[in-house]
Subunit: 346 residues, 2 copies
């Protein structure tokens, strides 16, 4: 365990802003004696909320005042150009300068992605960063799904690189050497899908950096047959949000079905905590956040409507990634690939 952990938080993002980020920050430093948090945002608002939680003078909660906020409606290009004193930008700058080892934000995903890309830059050899999250499966271990929306369209090389980065993340998180990597497709047979997927499958098959096990369909995501599932950002985003939608639908329909009968109605009351817990478990993005991989720094994106508990979970995720030194591990693999390519091209 690292003894000196500093994480920068964008306190002003998401639907609840400081109402969820401040209780999360307080509980996170109280739970981890090695953790120092730099709270980026409006000093007055943060100080007032900290005071209400008797934590204004906490030695490991440092306020960094920022004049601006990146709103959800803000276009990424505008955010980069004119939001230099926003809580999101300052948090990223702190990672860039080395003052913080990671940053967490629940703000505008598109702006965060482009700003992180612009401020932190990519690791050598990486074509594009990707958004990755752990998704629950029928087995004990989750599956790591990427890209979740950072890149709308992806070519074969990008999908292949996502496979490598996903392997590193899953390998570290699950403690295994050869995570099983699969490509999300519309059928399990080789003839299915479009050219980019077929070419990516070939690249993965030929690579000794990836334990490629073939295609997965949407219904296979949760079976646990793969440790990493790769897809383009548009598809991953729709798949993850579809999960969120259907989980909500099932829970609602189930509760409604129970309420129709007196006997079941009493059960509904008793079952409520189980249903709630389950709903959280099948909504991993909402709970643990997603991470940007491929950058020269650690950035964790908490869900836009993250509660204090969910924001705390995203801080914990950032802590784990610092401890696992994810960017260094990914850089090492890409360096190996690069020197191999150079040798192959000589």
């Amino acid at each position: 365990m690292l003894t000196n952990l500093t994480i920068a938080l964008d306190m002003m993002g998401g639907d609840y802003g400081p109402r969820s980020s401040i209780p999360a920050a307080v509980s996170a430093v109280n739970a981890n004696a090695n953790l120092k948090l730099i709270l980026c945002g409006n000093e007055q608002v943060i100080a007032k909320q900290l005071e209400s939680l008797d934590s204004l003078s906490h030695p490991r909660l440092i306020i960094r005042h920022c004049n601006d906020v990146v709103t959800n409606a803000c276009e990424p290009a505008v955010a980069i150009r004119s939001k230099k004193d926003s809580s999101m930008r300052v948090a990223l700058d702190l990672v860039k300068s080395g003052e913080a080892q990671a940053c967490v934000s629940s703000g505008n995903t598109g702006a965060l992605f482009f700003m992180a890309h612009y401020v932190l830059k990519m690791l050598p050899g990486v074509k594009r960063p990707a958004l990755i999250s752990a998704v629950p499966t029928e087995r004990k271990n989750p599956v790591y799904l990427l890209d979740l929306g950072a890149n709308v369209h992806c070519d074969a090389q990008m999908l292949y690189q996502f496979g490598i980065m996903g392997s590193v993340v899953a390998g570290q998180a699950l403690g295994c050497d050869n995570p099983k990597v699969s490509l999300l497709n519309i059928g399990a047979e080789d003839i299915k899908g479009h050219d980019e997927i077929k070419q990516a499958a070939q690249l993965m098959q030929q690579s000794d950096l990836i334990n490629y096990i073939g295609y997965s369909e949407g219904s296979d995501i949760f079976s646990g047959k793969a440790d990493v599932i790769v897809c383009e950002g548009f598809v991953g985003n729709v798949a993850l949000k579809t999960c969120e939608g259907i989980a909500k639908l099932i829970m609602k329909k189930f509760t409604r079905a129970l309420e129709k009968h007196v006997v079941y109605k009493c059960m509904a009351f008793m079952l409520a905590p189980i249903i709630k817990k389950l709903y959280k478990r099948v909504n991993p993005d909402q709970y643990n956040g997603a991470s940007l991989v491929g950058l020269r720094g650690i950035v964790v994106k908490s869900h836009g409507n993250a509660s204090a508990k969910a924001f705390h979970a995203a801080i914990d995720e950032a802590v784990k990634e610092v401890e696992r030194q994810l960017p260094d591990k990914i850089a090492a693999i890409f360096e190996k690939t690069h020197s191999k390519d150079t040798v192959a091209n000589q």
Copy 2:
């Protein structure tokens, strides 16, 4: 109600073949006195199964012997070229010749799509047919989702046409004049998504054939905010199969959670029928099948692992589509568009 309904069934497709298609055919004709079914497949196998159900001499169950079967591994091009006496092809030929008004198959989706396209041809003005299915929502009415995998990639014009066809299907099924049409995207804001989606949104916005309401995200599918949601086949297929997967996961995790406590264990037993019913309801594709729209004939695709009940539901869906005269209604709209375009180009 039509008094003379004839539907051709591919008896040999899907995971269970005649084991599910024959009981489905028997129960369908028994439930609808106007319905005649032409059972395409191996005569011996069908006759034996019909006999076991005391229905060999049923006057409205006609066997049409076919020597061949399109397997799941069969490539579409091979199926078209060399499976002319397959149960799938014969069922489609019966629609083409007018002997049957619709056909139902639970066989190889890709082969069925290409063969139907080849045999029946497209309606004038339609660029590509699409696979559509009703998906449950939080409200009373379902939402019609298309394309579900018939076209891997789609350009703006195709997406726009899917919006028109989806409008006709939803309008007829829900009995409303102006179904709300939405495009599936990775965000609700105008700047989100790729060029094809943005262009399709423009086409829909400018059209008086579509009541376009803007973008939906994956999580909105089930909210009931739209009556029709349009996406490219790759995305729709992944979304639908993801629903199937997550529904299975939730049901499993819920049952497992209940089994951990003695009190809940008894409940699990009592709740089993509710859970089963709910699972079926959130798996519409598995239950009612999906339809190919845009062709000069009605083709309903039942799920590959359709039970007898599910195959019966797909036959009922085909009956409804015949009664609603869907291809004629779609043709009429496209004729209107075409004459408009001609006028506009003069």
